[in-house]
Symmetry: C2
Subunit: 200 residues, 2 copies
DNA sequence: GTCTATAGTAAGATAGAC
DNA sequence: GTCTATCTTACTATAGAC
């Protein structure tokens, strides 16, 4: 299973020449990623996806064999960015990233936020290879949080609180309720972080 | 805002004569609810929805003015059932319900499970009236959990851990990872429950 | 690589027979 | 209320010109 991951990564990496920093495909993945996080994958047509990148739908299939292949690429790209939010950071920076994740701004702007609260149910219905990529990303995210709490259970708890809080808050029309939820969850997450901050 | 809720509830209640316990509309909401939780709302057509109830698509609009009105009815119905899982229960029963929520069986069977981990992102993109119904349901769910922990922040934390854990676990192809996540979250939720179990 | 055009299918919704 | 048939639009995907 781990070997499969490595193969997928290799294929994706070697599809482009090393000196092309950001190709057309990468730009497509960026532009469509924002749209898909905002409006959902199933609800967005290929026409709309390509329009977001300033192109027409005919060009889509020069870059992806199918729409579902795009979802896979989006998940890979988006998860990488979410992971970077928590990696190679001081403890203070990581705690600030958690605070930002649980902010009203993140709730209000799915297009520039983490893909998990926007797309997780659609990932659960996607191909197995898409789910493998998702799993690798989630495990890496958990491991980054684990560095802060040095405990797997606590790390998992924080990960699901972050994504659960943002996902639920986005369905709440009342700002008051949204803020109460975010504040409550932030308080509990902070407590877990403090429990785990004994001597290194 | 509260008045709006009452009006919506009244309309829905008074649409049918009081002696009809379960009408055709209610059966439709049940049957389509399971399908929508499994496959997603946007991804499921009216044809498929009605086929799940043994009918054809033409009959759909005798019961709902639009597809989005159905989503609203499904959310209302499904949230009611999720709330009942935690209401009018002894402490032991409620704790057992939490354990069941975080079970592999719940992760494996979205069609018979809670609607929130299946549909929350689609609710976030739905009409404001659908979101009001969602908010009322989520608040009631939180208040049921609050009875166990007597603290709003802790109740919110548990709610988002439950829905976040199931939602993320459903995207993980490895049973090992799924179980580790569920076990870790269950452990942390249990700890919150024990913190809040002082003298009444 | 990107375009226009189009094939083929499925979508949401309506009309009228029964 | 439910059916079949249909309208209109949108969908995923492909073909061929540039």
């Amino acid at each position: 299973m781990q070997a499969l991951f490595e193969n997928i990564s290799q294929i994706n990496t070697m599809r482009y020449s090393p000196d092309h920093k950001v190709g057309a495909r990468a730009r497509l993945i960026e532009a469509t990623g924002a749209l898909v996080k905002k409006n959902g994958f199933a609800a967005t047509g290929v026409d709309g996806l390509m329009a977001a990148a300033g192109l027409t739908s005919g060009a889509f299939y020069s870059h992806f064999r199918s729409k579902s292949e795009l979802l896979e690429a989006i998940i890979e790209n988006e998860l990488k960015r979410s992971i970077e939010l928590f990696s190679d950071k001081t403890r203070e920076q990581a705690v600030a990233a958690i605070k930002g994740y649980l902010s009203p701004a993140h709730v209000a702007h799915p297009e520039s936020g983490c893909a998990v609260p926007s797309l997780a149910p659609e990932i659960a219905r996607a191909s197995e290879s898409t789910q493998y990529i998702f799993e690798q990303g989630v495990l890496e995210l958990k491991d980054q949080i684990r560095k802060l709490v040095r405990d797997d259970a606590k790390a998992w708890s924080i990960v699901v609180q972050l994504v659960g809080a943002v996902m639920v808050a986005r369905g709440l029309p009342s700002e008051q309720t949204r803020k109460a939820l975010l504040k409550g969850v932030a308080q509990q997450v902070k407590q877990i972080l403090e429990e785990g901050s004994g001597p290194s």
